[in-house]
């Protein structure tokens, strides 16, 4: 059955996690398994992407129960792209963490849990059933709790309490929304829900369900005013963990929001205005938060919030061009945000501090490495022709055609503040003269590592920087891909036909 290709990346991560569990004590073998497993999973997800790109939407009915009765797995272009990106990050972060995660942490099951997290992410992207999405969200959050708390340092635990509470609250709210929707329609399949929701007599209850979904996913994707857990927790774990969180976890929330508000619910004027307002305030609060930070990882956390606002802005405008911008921005953001946290961790390895006030002189001591670190930083700012520039064209074009001048103003404002923050970071960390920082006890600096270990840290960053460069210089391909995804999003009939086999 050709359609089972859909499940390969997901099942393979599960398999890798189980194999890694067998080597619980031997973290050296776990590292090898993790890197090899991620590379094979990347290969499988490329196969899936190729299949979807050439043959259109793939669906699979679990247990051969016809939709809408069983659980459906669907890979449209958006899902396949996100699965591919997840696995690219998986490879880079597996390579990075094979060196950077110390054995004391790895002994508590870092690598198996890492693959379970990737499995959860893959599952969330390909499921076509709203309750199944909830289950994958739970797989993601339970794995992320473990990754966040492994090591048990004081800041980690304190950050974890906030992260944990808000994410559980989001899940309960999501579950409530599912309950309301099931009560109204009696179905859970997303394609079937679209058909049934239109038939519900009491449309105001549908609007309420939509709002509950918005709050649940809003907490997950850290939009204003629900974002406070993110900057409190994302800088506390090791850089490799922050990278996967920063790259993917908030984007799962955005993905779920895109799915729900394009496929399930008809958009009302109230919802559009709410999304515009939330997008504006998210950009504003993320940007202002980033301006005053001193800890570089925390600065990147605020930038995540700011750029989530860009994606919500595209979703709010609700046109094909705007969706193109949102999807392109998401592709760019997943790669570059993960890389930023890796860069932050790498600077920590070099200098032994996250504080911008203490850091400095990196360009003088490591000119070649600095140039490598420059790529993700400038991609984020979006200096043409790097990757952050292109999606903004679509977003601003969409803003002009839908006459959302407020959104345009804030997108430009957000980009400007990002530029300012990165310029400040560059001058503080790379140009400023600095005192040598005394290392903490048993701190393993970059210079005391073996050649092989040094190489793996640099390779992971270079790999993601290369992907960023490709997104920038091959923008035509990504633009084609994004506009195809946007077309699929604005014509849900394709999705319905594929799932319900009405043709």
């Amino acid at each position: 059955m050709i359609n089972s290709i859909l499940l390969y990346p997901l099942l393979f991560h599960f398999f890798v996690a189980i194999v890694a569990l067998f080597f619980w004590r031997d973290t050296r073998i776990q590292r090898v398994i993790s890197v090899a497993g991620s590379i094979i999973a990347l290969f499988l997800s490329i196969l899936l992407f190729r299949e979807v790109w050439y043959n259109g939407i793939i669906t699979m009915q679990s247990g051969n129960w016809k939709a809408p009765f069983g659980i459906t797995m669907v890979a449209d272009t958006l899902s396949a792209t996100l699965v591919l990106l997840t696995n690219i990050l998986g490879v880079a972060i597996a390579i990075y963490s094979s060196t950077s995660i110390i054995s004391e942490r790895a002994k508590f099951g870092y690598f198996p849990i890492f693959h379970l997290l990737l499995m959860g992410l893959t599952g969330a992207f390909i499921t076509g059933d709203i309750f199944n999405l909830y289950v994958w969200f739970e797989v993601i959050i339970i794995s992320s709790f473990v990754l966040l708390t492994i090591g048990g340092e004081k800041p980690q635990i304190e950050g974890a309490v906030k992260y944990f509470t808000l994410n559980i609250l989001a899940s309960v709210i999501f579950l409530t929304a599912i309950a309301v929707l099931y009560g109204l329609t009696g179905t859970l399949n997303m394609a079937d829900l679209r058909l049934k929701i239109a038939l519900v007599e009491n449309q105001s209850l549908v609007d309420i369900a939509a709002l509950i979904f918005f709050i649940g996913f809003g907490i997950k994707s850290a939009v204003f005013p629900l974002y406070f857990w993110l900057p409190a927790s994302y800088h506390t774990p090791p850089a490799a963990v922050s990278a996967i969180f920063g790259g993917l976890l908030t984007k799962v929330g955005v993905y779920a929001m895109i799915r729900v508000f394009t496929l399930l619910f008809e958009r009302s004027e109230f919802l559009d205005n709410l999304l515009i307002l939330v997008a504006v305030l998210t950009i504003l609060s993320g940007a202002l938060g980033a301006l005053i930070q001193n800890n570089i990882q925390k600065l990147f956390s605020y930038l995540i919030i700011c750029h989530i606002g860009f994606m919500i802005a595209g979703l709010a405008m609700n046109t094909t061009v705007a969706f193109t911008g949102t999807v392109f921005y998401m592709i760019h953001d997943i790669v570059v945000k993960a890389n930023l946290f890796l860069v932050g961790g790498f600077i920590y390895r070099l200098k032994g501090s996250y504080s911008m006030r203490q850091l400095g002189g990196l360009y003088q001591s490591h000119p070649k490495l600095s140039l490598l670190l420059l790529i993700p930083l400038f991609s984020l700012v979006g200096i043409p022709p790097l990757s952050g520039f292109w999606p903004k064209i679509s977003l601003i074009t969409a803003g002009l055609t839908t006459e959302n001048y407020l959104l345009i103003a804030f997108i430009i404002f957000g980009s400007f503040v990002t530029l300012l923050v990165i310029a400040k970071l560059w001058s503080e960390v790379f140009w400023k003269e600095s005192e040598p920082i005394s290392f903490k006890a048993n701190f393993k600096s970059f210079h005391s590592m073996k050649k092989k270990e040094q190489f793996s840290l640099v390779f992971a960053i270079a790999l993601l920087a290369f992907v960023s460069l490709y997104i920038g210089f091959g923008a035509e391909h990504i633009q084609n891909l994004s506009s195809r995804i946007a077309t699929e999003l604005t014509t849900p009939q394709l999705y319905l036909d594929a799932v319900l086999k009405t043709k």
Partner: protein, 117 residues
């Protein structure tokens, strides 16, 4: 019965949120548990309560003869209960650990990660 359950769910949600807003770690967990139970009962209620009609096709028949209880909400609740059980187990260990490293159970004291540093 429906009215009674509706009130019960309302009380569970309200008291869950109230408990989460308190400052003590233990009350936070109790709040999460109450909220989870409220959500589970909500699925149960919104799946329509049908009494004495199990979803089993009677012998000598190929189809259901009259109305039957919807089994899907029960499957959903079962899944949700198991998941929230796992999360609560993790939460209890986490707050024990948090109490140990932060040496306080007052959530307002746990703000070192939010401070400017």
């Amino acid at each position: 019965m429906e009215i009674l359950l509706a009130f019960l769910i309302g009380i569970l949600y309200a008291s869950g949120i109230y408990m989460m807003l308190r400052r003590s770690l233990v009350k936070l967990i109790i709040g999460i548990i109450l909220l989870g139970n409220g959500a589970n009962l909500l699925i149960f209620l919104l799946g329509r309560i049908t009494k004495d009609k199990p979803p089993i096709i009677p012998e000598h028949s190929k189809v259901f003869l009259d109305g039957f209880a919807d089994p899907v909400p029960q499957a959903l609740i079962l899944t949700a209960i198991v998941i929230s059980f796992g999360l609560q187990a993790f939460a209890i260990i986490l707050i024990k650990r948090a109490y140990k490293v932060a040496k306080t159970d007052d959530l307002d004291q746990m703000n070192t990660t939010d401070e400017y540093a």
